[in-house]
């Protein structure tokens, strides 16, 4: 599968695979990191991975709406980062720590 063609002939698959890898890395960060701020960063990473696939499809379908979608996603991501960080500030004020285990009040 990985041959000279694959390396030389860069196409839609390459971008999508890259996007999948970035998404998974972001997911690992969300799942494994203790620091809530790093978790937020990982979420941003996942969003960027999705953006990349949007742009890829936009290009290879010659349709501009993919870029508009990315635009919206970025805006939402910025908003989410703002709210998430405000929450973290709030938690930090209380516990002097931003460990994710302080969110365990939902325990059943």
């Amino acid at each position: 599968m990985i041959n000279a063609d694959f390396i030389v002939d860069v196409g839609i698959s390459h971008y999508l695979i890259l996007s999948a890898i970035l998404f998974s890395l972001g997911m690992i960060g969300v799942l494994l990191r203790k620091n809530a701020i790093v978790m937020l960063m990982s979420i941003e990473l996942m969003l960027n991975a999705v953006n990349l696939s949007f742009i890829t499809f936009s290009k290879y379908n010659s349709h501009i709406d993919g870029q508009i979608m990315v635009f919206f996603v970025m805006t939402i991501a910025a908003a989410e980062a703002a709210v998430g960080l405000a929450l973290i500030v709030s938690i930090f004020k209380r516990y002097k720590e931003v460990n994710i285990r302080f969110f365990e009040h939902l325990k059943g």
């Binding site: 390396i7 890259l18 999948a20 997911m27 990191r33 701020i37 960063m41 290009k59 805006t75 931003v98």
Partner: protein, 178 residues
């Protein structure tokens, strides 16, 4: 190896490496810096995909504003002394890694499967878009998607107010525990 291919592999290396550093660095500041690298790499990838306006926004909004916000919060808290970067639990950790790996594998499998099935139907058929893509983007954004755009504006306003309110509060709603 053409210049295009070289550029792609180079940027792929930068983004994957940056992303790995984001999740591996114990110090959140380093994580943030690695994330800036990744963002910039992705912006460059956008350029290779002819999405110039979005690439610019990516640099300005993400690598600029959002990351500055992150770094500012980190600086504010002075959190560099972190001993344990990863949450506890070996078995769950393994399951989590396996989940993420499986997901990536599945997606890649899907991509390979479909690319061989559909083959190169859409590969490289870069229809010459009429006119400047940024202009096209603006036209569509402010005509067809104007409602969504305005709604986003209101959302941002609400988020701004909410973030200020949250950050000003004295830490959570459980006042009695303090």
């Amino acid at each position: 190896m053409t210049a295009d291919a070289f550029l792609f592999w180079f940027l792929a290396l930068i983004t994957i490496g940056g992303a790995s550093l984001v999740i591996l660095m114990k110090n959140p500041i380093y994580s943030a810096l690695a994330l800036v690298f990744t963002m910039c790499g992705i912006a460059a990838l956008f350029v290779t995909l002819d999405a110039f306006f979005v690439a610019g926004v990516q640099i300005i909004v993400y690598a600029g504003a959002v990351m500055v916000l992150f770094v500012m919060v980190l600086m504010l808290f002075d959190l560099k002394h972190e001993v344990e970067a990863f949450s506890k639990g070996r078995i769950t950790g393994a399951i989590k890694l396996a989940t993420a790996g499986l997901l990536a594998g599945l997606v890649m499998g899907a991509i390979f499967y479909s690319s061989t099935a559909v083959d190169t139907v859409i590969t490289k058929q870069l229809a010459a878009a009429s006119g400047d893509p940024s202009k096209q983007l603006g036209m569509r954004l402010f005509t067809q998607h104007i409602f969504a755009f305005e709604a986003l504006g209101i959302l941002l306003l609400v988020v701004a107010v909410g973030a200020v309110a949250l950050a000003r509060s004295k830490g959570g709603t459980h006042h009695d525990q303090r």
